[in-house]
């Protein structure tokens, strides 16, 4: 019993839980372990997975970002509208990335420079940005004119859809940044002890602004891919995304108190969220129930975080 607890709360605990869950689901849920379903599953977590990369940095530095869902919708909208208006997809993509980064930058500056609580700030920008998406589209979906735009989401490389490749690429890039760069180490240091980091020469304000800007940029990427997949800019897209992303991160062992994060954990967290949803779809469970399940997953994630921290403290004594 004790050793089981140790495994589950340890570094690799989540991977173990994931492996067990995966095996059980593969055996009992029909059509789960097929190539088609697997690709579908991965495709369904692309948005969460991509945004989770930077949310991990945000949480690890003791911050918080609720505006990601709105930013994804907004930048997707911008991508579609600018490419329609200019006739250039490239221009549309650039505009979307820029729009996402701008939202992130504003978040970062307000939070780090003016020292406003991250929860409140991003709660505000979440609504502002959603409003902007609705205003610019007059509340309607905007269809994509140039079919080449669809190709972003439809094209395949080695039979695997491009968005999945992009997600994998971002996992690798941000995993590298977290573990192997000064930026990543400083992020964890700020989360561990902001004042000590500042006195040790880390420019905490600039770091936090960068983290938020990066978060915005990545939301831009997610927004573009989402728009391409649903073949339009939807002002109401990605509602509630922030909660799924934060759940995935916390489930993946990113500490809400900051200072602790791992890319592998976040990937597993994202996959668990995806599997839960996928299985419920396969079993024809009504969408209404899915909210309940997602809520429970978040609760369990936070409980696990709590138990892990407690275990870490006990381990010290």
């Amino acid at each position: 019993m004790n050793s089981l607890k140790k495994i589950l709360l340890g570094e690799q605990g989540l991977v173990v839980i994931f492996a067990i869950a995966f095996v059980i689901v593969s055996i009992f849920v029909p059509n789960f372990l097929t190539e088609r379903n697997m690709l579908g599953l991965l495709q369904s977590v692309v948005t969460i997975g991509i945004v989770a990369c930077t949310m991990m940095f945000c949480l690890a530095s003791r911050d918080f970002d609720l505006s990601v869902g709105s930013t994804v919708a907004f930048s997707g909208m911008i991508a579609v509208m600018v490419s329609n208006a200019s006739g250039s997809i490239l221009l549309g993509l650039l505009a979307a990335l820029l729009a996402g980064s701008a939202v992130g930058l504003v978040n970062g500056v307000v939070i780090a420079k003016f020292r406003i609580n991250a929860l409140i700030t991003t709660l505000a920008t979440m609504q502002i940005v959603r409003g902007l998406a609705l205003i610019s589209s007059e509340g309607r979906a905007v269809g994509i004119n140039d079919p080449n735009f669809y190709q972003l989401a439809l094209s395949r490389i080695f039979t695997i859809p491009t968005p999945i490749w992009i997600m994998i690429l971002l996992f690798i890039v941000f995993g590298f940044i977290l573990n192997r760069t000064v930026f990543g180490k400083n992020t964890l240091a700020i989360g561990g002890n902001p004042e000590a980091s500042r006195l040790a020469g880390v420019n905490v304000v600039r770091m936090r602004i960068w983290i938020f800007a990066l978060q915005g940029l990545v939301c831009g990427v997610a927004g573009i891919l989402l728009a391409s997949r649903i073949t339009s800019g939807q002002p109401n897209a990605a509602t509630g995304l922030e909660l799924s992303v934060i759940s995935a991160c916390v489930l993946g062992g990113v500490s809400l108190a900051g200072g602790r994060a791992a890319m592998t954990g976040v990937i597993v967290g994202v996959l668990i969220m995806g599997i839960a949803e996928n299985v419920m779809n396969l079993l024809n469970i009504q969408a209404f129930y899915q909210y309940v399940v997602r809520g429970f997953i978040l609760l369990i994630a936070v409980l696990l975080d709590n138990m892990r921290s407690a275990a870490a403290v006990r381990g010290r004594e």
Partner: protein, 501 residues
């Protein structure tokens, strides 16, 4: 007859014996002074009295009854109230609400506001405090809030009230009001334990006095009229300096650090000084004298209002620790836990946090170099740990301090080291190791500022001492002229300057 009695109280913390065998007693209706240097054990004794900490051995008797506290709540019920420097009032509630907090009068959860205000008004009148019970605490001055705290103690029928440095943030007028209040409480038979550094206050108020030194009872004066100012100072210091410090004369070079008119929000009076190459300059002062504030301003950790700081003639830009580091100045902060170590990260990361930018091309780490540097400083500074991967929180205080030193020694071109309380909470063995490191660095030409509340330490390792008192430099003393009494006298707030902040 003695009302409050401490009997053979001892208390140890890891690495330090805070109190050994303290016994003394206080008469009913007496104001009893408690004096001693920083770290003499006053706070520990007060904590034990309040039930916040428990003694390893010994007992406290009140009115002949042995007390067995397990918590602050128990001491409350026994009628002991400790009023700390940081006041414990809710700012957004009124005076009356604060005094009734936790046991509001009324029925079914509806507060009887008339009783609330009237009882408090009567009680305040009774002890002669002129404060409106309906006023919000946040609108009151610090002095008035202190009165409210005391009124709260009186309302709780306190038999013993301990005041910890109550006048440290009061104006002279407010202090005088406080003294009159204390006089009235004395007349009512309340025992007051009065902790202060200010000798004039002690003589103004106290009937009797106890002096602590290094956790031991240095002197007990049942009648304060039997002693003098000079005697008390001698009792507070009264120890021999031995050369356990290993200090040796070093050649000093030209001026390395020059500070002119440095001031900030928490250090109003501008201060200027110079530190030479190879010099260890000690800063001594009582808690709150402004030493750490000075260090933080110097380092750019707090906002500098006036002044220039230059190293080898090059001006250091203010407001940014990073700029200070680039200019060659580093700080080992006073509060290691909150300002020094990054908890949850390894020793290696704590060492490399600043210096890694020198060997991380394009911000990409070189784990091998980082490991090598960590290992080098773990060996050089004799950090006791099984591995460089160990979470720093698992290390003892001394080893954490060494890791922070390692952080700075791994930086390039450090010219000025500011170390605040270098050995606080560190055991004796590690202490002398840290001193050795400081001497080595000084011998290499570094200018070192050591800030300490421990007088023997400052005297033991410094080439020169600047004594601070109430935000000013009170004395600048060269090593040949080091003398405990004169340094401590300079550090104590004197009669004339005491209330002019």
């Amino acid at each position: 007859m003695s009302f409050l009695q401490f009997s053979a109280i001892s208390k140890g913390y890891p690495g330090v014996q805070a109190l050994s065998d303290i016994s003394f007693s206080v008469e009913k209706g007496a104001v009893h002074g408690l004096m001693g240097e920083n770290g003499a054990g006053k706070s520990t004794l007060i904590r034990i009295l309040s039930g916040d900490q428990s003694a390893d051995s010994g007992s406290i008797l009140i009115d002949g009854e042995e007390q067995d506290y397990r918590s602050v709540r128990d001491s409350f019920h026994a009628g002991v109230i400790v009023i700390h420097q940081e006041l414990q009032l809710v700012p957004e509630l009124t005076v009356a609400e604060n005094l009734w907090l936790g046991r509001f009068p009324g029925r079914a959860g509806i507060i009887d506001s008339r009783t609330l205000v009237e009882t408090v008004r009567n009680r305040l009148d009774e002890i002669g405090i002129d404060i409106d019970p309906a006023a919000k605490v946040s609108t009151l001055s610090i002095g008035a809030r202190q009165m409210v705290e005391i009124a709260k103690a009186v309302m709780l029928e306190a038999r013993v009230i301990a005041l910890d440095e109550p006048t440290s943030s009061l104006s002279s007028r407010e202090s005088e009001i406080l003294f009159r209040l204390i006089d009235r409480l004395r007349a009512k038979g309340t025992v007051i334990l009065y902790v202060s550094h200010r000798l004039d206050e002690i003589f103004r108020l106290c009937d009797s006095l106890t002096v602590l030194r290094d956790g031991r009872l240095a002197a007990h004066h049942p009648k304060i009229s039997d002693t003098t100012r000079e005697k008390i100072i001698t009792e507070m210091v009264g120890r021999e300096i031995s050369n356990i410090w290993g200090w040796q004369e070093r050649p000093l070079g030209e001026a390395r650090l020059e500070v002119k008119n440095l001031s900030g929000a928490r250090l109003r009076t501008p201060i200027s000084f110079t530190v030479r190459k190879g010099e260890i300059l000690g800063f001594f002062g009582l808690i709150g004298a402004g030493r750490s504030e000075m260090a933080r301003l110097l380092y750019g950790a707090d906002h500098r209002q006036t002044g220039t700081v230059s190293i080898d003639g090059v001006t250091v830009s203010p407001d940014n620790p990073k700029a200070a580091i680039n200019a060659g100045m580093v700080l080992c902060p006073e509060d290691r836990k909150f300002d020094g170590i990054v908890q949850g990260r390894s020793i290696e990361e704590n060492i490399a946090i600043s210096s890694r930018r020198h060997f991380s091309p394009f911000g990409i780490l070189s784990p091998k170099k980082e490991a090598a540097i960590a290992d080098r400083f773990i060996a050089r500074l004799k950090v006791r740990t099984p591995s460089r991967k160990q979470d720093i929180i698992n290390l003892s205080g001394g080893n954490q301090q060494k890791v922070i030193l390692g952080r700075w020694l791994s930086e390039q071109g450090v010219k000025v080291l500011v170390i605040d309380e270098p050995t606080r909470g560190i055991d004796v063995g590690a202490k002398s190791e840290i001193y050795e490191i400081l001497y080595e660095l000084a011998a290499d030409g570094m200018a070192i500022i050591v800030i300490s509340s421990e007088l023997p330490e400052v005297m033991g390792i410094s080439d020169r001492i600047m004594v601070m008192c109430q935000g000013r430099v009170a004395a600048n003393i060269e090593r040949p002229d080091f003398e405990e009494r004169s340094i401590l006298t300079a550090a104590l707030p004197d009669k004339n300057a005491a209330h002019t902040i």
